[in-house]
Symmetry: C2
């Protein structure tokens, strides 16, 4: 009977995602915005449809992870690796500046507010990581994934996640009361970069031949199922190596984009991803507490004030990153705005900070509002920026 | 990190399913046989890759349920309801005879062996329900879903499940030490039949108009995602009404097969189902204990002997059902053999019997072997029967 309740929740999540996605599109906004609002409405602070505790929450979490994994896999499949390499140095510069400025400003703001030490580092850390999932979905909704700006943004957002993982390991050590070592930081960075480089180099060499054998198998849907199994396996490998699941899924997509069967794989992965990715966005939306938006209470007013400052830092810091690669011909404002949305990684930081007691409820709420605001502000801005010059050569 | 471990298990399940499915096909057997063997090899008694305890087992269970749900949804979509109605009386006769004879023979065998009362009813009950999932997959693998025999088999197997639910409610009462009432039996039957009839009648009337509105929505993949949400919702409704999930999924498919968009829905559901249905078959296979096959131990020899008798009853009882509808022009042997595979429902019965202590380990093992043998014996037999006259007008 518990399975039935879970399937009912899934049905509600998918239906609300599409209905509010439709409303968002009719209002001229990207669909993903509607899915986040659907999550806020269905979450624990709203209708309580999205399970937030117990085994139901764990199931939703796994389904959401599967959704973001399939999304990154699809993005990897659609990524032109050669074009990505051409924008590589620009993406790296955008990522580094886009992590350094928000981190530094957030840290200084919280020290100036009278909270030096771990709390300030945590506040800075929550401001660093761009959400690849949300950014990529917005660009994909706008049909702009093939533009040079999109390549820089996606590339920078992926590098961003690698830097985010380094910061995550640092804040995790802080949260358990330990000291941060240069060796630990270097090792986390090396694992993430090493995994991506080794996986893509080895994979691009070995996997196309393997899939030339797979395509000769007779059993039904073998190409799709083994491609999904490959993405799942490489994601797990990335996590086991101490890096992030989504890094493995993205690498799997990049690798399979070099096979002769990539168009079939891409066409068949798309419906599978279409069913699961909304679960991720609704799940992200559902962790936002709507009561924090009520300015009638003093605690909420303080939270809103902190949130306002953090949001300004979050928006300004990432937009500045658009000008980090002066040699690259691109629309710098588009890149800067594209880097603004925070999401899953920021939420993970905030959650660790709250659980370890380093962040109190007001700051935690403010961080959530900042993540929500940056996520909500970027899609319409990007859309209006891209409308005069939509799409581009793929 | 637990999510990573689960994704790795999923990757192994999907890969093993396709590799052993391919081997089965190359040996002239249906792919589903290979998937069951893959499950037995990956299960707790084999490599232990399929998690059998804790939250991992629950996750696999939900994914497997999602797989069988999508499979029955797809079968419902592909079912020609009018053609099904034409074979309705024949399917009903085949189902009733195919439940009555195995139940009666199993009950008498176990009473004759010196075990009257609940144990004999349990042994009889485990012999009753044909596995719609396995049967439909075999017919689909053989490209024979459009034949009149396939319609009778699928129809009878669905009715079978309804009868199985009635028997399940009866044995559940027995397992808790209660008395079985005629009212309880009648109510369970009425709920299952009522749900299917009401859902399909109301759905066929109201849903096509609704999907004519859905198709005018602009948001991506809206048709697929809302169709899947509908199947999830109706499955949950069937379970909440006291019936089976798969009954709701099948009804959802039947209903959507009457929409103007059913070809798009069917085409996009297929890849999603292709990824999840192997999880169900591997999961069924993984609950079979390979050690029960070792005739070196006396306990295993006794188990094997009981299993042999139960298997003969299981095969003969269902094959006799092929002759239950003398008015219907059809190949009776094909229908009889098509009804032989047992699966999920028999496993549920056996599990309840073992947990309540009514069935001891030897009988439980014998029941599992019977389910395995009937499942393994039917596909090659069906395949050789259908080979001379493959396919048919849809």
């Amino acid at each position: 009977m518990e399975v039935a309740g879970f399937f009912l929740a899934l049905a509600a999540i998918l239906t609300a995602a599409k209905l509010l996605g439709e409303i968002a599109e009719r209002m001229g906004q990207p669909a993903v915005l509607g899915e986040l609002v659907a999550g806020a409405l269905l979450g624990g602070a709203g209708l309580g449809v999205v399970p937030s505790t117990g085994s139901g929450a764990e199931l939703i979490h796994v389904m959401a992870e599967l959704g973001v994994l399939l999304l990154l896999f699809e993005i990897g499949l659609e990524t032109d690796l050669k074009a990505m390499f051409r924008v590589g140095p620009a993406a790296l510069a955008v990522a580094v500046v886009g992590v350094a400025i928000p981190f530094g400003l957030g840290y200084l703001y919280w020290v100036a507010d009278g909270h030096p030490g771990p709390a300030a580092i945590f506040v800075g850390a929550t401001l660093t990581a761009t959400s690849v999932g949300i950014t990529a979905r917005v660009l994909s909704d706008l049909g702009a994934l093939g533009t040079p700006e999109a390549r820089v943004i996606i590339g920078a957002a992926v590098i961003d996640d690698v830097l985010g993982l380094v910061i995550l390991s640092v804040v995790s050590v802080l949260a358990t009361g330990g000291a941060v070592t240069a060796f630990g930081v270097a090792r986390t960075l090396a694992v993430a970069v090493g995994f991506l480089v080794v996986a893509v180099l080895v994979g691009r060499y070995a996997v196309p031949g393997l899939f030339n054998l797979v395509v000769r198998m007779r059993v039904r849907s073998v190409l799709l199922v083994l491609a999904v199994a490959f993405a799942l396996g490489l994601s797990a490998a990335a996590a086991e190596a101490g890096s992030a699941l989504i890094l493995g899924a993205f690498a799997a997509g990049l690798i399979l984009s070099g096979t002769n069967q990539f168009d079939t794989i891409e066409r068949e992965v798309r419906p599978v991803a279409a069913v699961f990715t909304p679960i991720f966005f609704v799940s992200v939306g559902s962790s936002l507490d709507l009561r924090l938006l009520d300015p009638a209470t003093p605690a909420a007013r303080e939270t809103l004030l902190i949130a306002l400052v953090l949001t300004l830092i979050g928006i300004f810091g990432k937009m500045a990153a658009g000008w980090a690669a002066p040699w690259q011909p691109m629309r710098r404002l588009v890149v800067g705005v594209g880097m603004v949305p925070r999401g899953e990684v920021g939420l993970i930081f905030a959650d660790i900070g709250r659980r370890s007691g380093i962040l109190n409820d007001e700051v935690f709420g403010a961080v959530l509002l900042m993540i929500m605001a940056t996520t909500f502000v970027a899609p319409p801005a990007l859309k209006s920026l891209l409308r005069p010059r939509p799409g581009g050569a793929a």
